[in-house]
């Protein structure tokens, strides 16, 4: 190879190494957010840790397939979601067909009833008594297909579109699962809050 040719090759290798280092740093900077999503997608903390580790191992191996300028957090979570499915998470019974009786105001109305004539804001005081564990447990009780969209949109701040790409489902499905998932969550919270009352 000529000197010019080897210089060009060396520059290419150096540029690739720089890109890879930058990619790895950017990905690691997002690890808290990736862990937070994983923590609520799977049943236990240990499982979440394994899943995040596996996600990063795969991401670092296939960093070249990431398109710079696109959403890296969404790309990492797409890997995480696929790995979670590969790990044998069973497809859930078709949740879209489950009947859902309560409306969006259900939790408020139940708490208001329970608060009685406790005055304005009585229902807020009831919800304030819910502990962090109560809320985490209520979220865990939501079927995972619903919970995944709640975790991505409500906790991860992803748009409906990003959540659809991450989970590889149509945007209309994201919206309907979100709608139903939030209602299920409220039903779970109502049970806990009214038990505690």
């Amino acid at each position: 190879m000529s000197d010019t040719g080897s210089d060009t090759a060396a520059r290419r290798v150096a540029a690739e190494a720089r890109d890879r280092v930058r990619f790895e740093e950017d990905a690691l900077a997002l690890s808290d957010q990736v862990f937070r999503v994983a923590r609520h997608m799977v049943g236990s903390r240990e499982e979440a840790e394994d899943l995040v580790q596996e996600t990063y191992a795969r991401a670092f191996r296939s960093w070249r397939t990431f398109q710079p300028g696109t959403n890296l957090r969404a790309w990492l979570l797409r890997i995480l979601t696929n790995l979670n499915i590969d790990r044998g998470r069973k497809q859930q019974r078709t949740p879209e067909t489950q009947p859902l009786e309560e409306g969006d105001y259900f939790l408020y109305n139940r708490l208001e009833e329970a608060a009685g004539d406790g005055g304005v804001g009585g229902e807020e005081r009831v919800i304030e008594r819910l502990s962090q564990d109560d809320i985490v447990n209520a979220l865990a009780a939501v079927p995972h297909d619903f919970r995944d969209v709640i975790v991505l949109v409500d906790l991860g701040d992803f748009s409906y579109q990003d959540a659809a790409q991450i989970l590889d489902i149509p945007i209309g499905t994201v919206m309907s699962r979100l709608h139903r998932g939030r209602r299920v969550l409220k039903r779970e919270l109502a049970e806990t809050a009214l038990e505690a009352d």
Binding site: L28, R36, R39, R45, E49, Q53, Y108, I135, V136, R182
Partner: protein
């Protein structure tokens, strides 16, 4: 302007900022006018903050951070 049922339907997409401009204005006009829905709106907003705060309080273990950093490609 929508009625309370319509407002209830729009509540979650309103909080998600997913309504069209026309729908958003319609929902806001109803909320301005209806204390029943306004109380429920404020509650829904508070509830989201509660759920979010409760769910994000569990920090990532520092050992996991170290394990992830160790997965990086070594520089030759």
């Amino acid at each position: 302007m929508c009625d309370c049922d319509g407002c209830e339907q729009m509540m979650q997409p309103y909080l998600d900022k997913a309504l069209t401009e026309a729908q958003r204005l319609e929902a806001e006009a109803h909320l301005d006018d209806c204390s029943y829905c306004r109380k429920r709106y404020r509650f829904e907003e508070t509830l989201r903050v509660y759920v979010r705060q409760a769910a994000v309080e569990e920090p990532m273990p520092p050992e996991l951070k170290e394990r992830l950093a160790a997965l990086r490609t070594p520089l030759i």
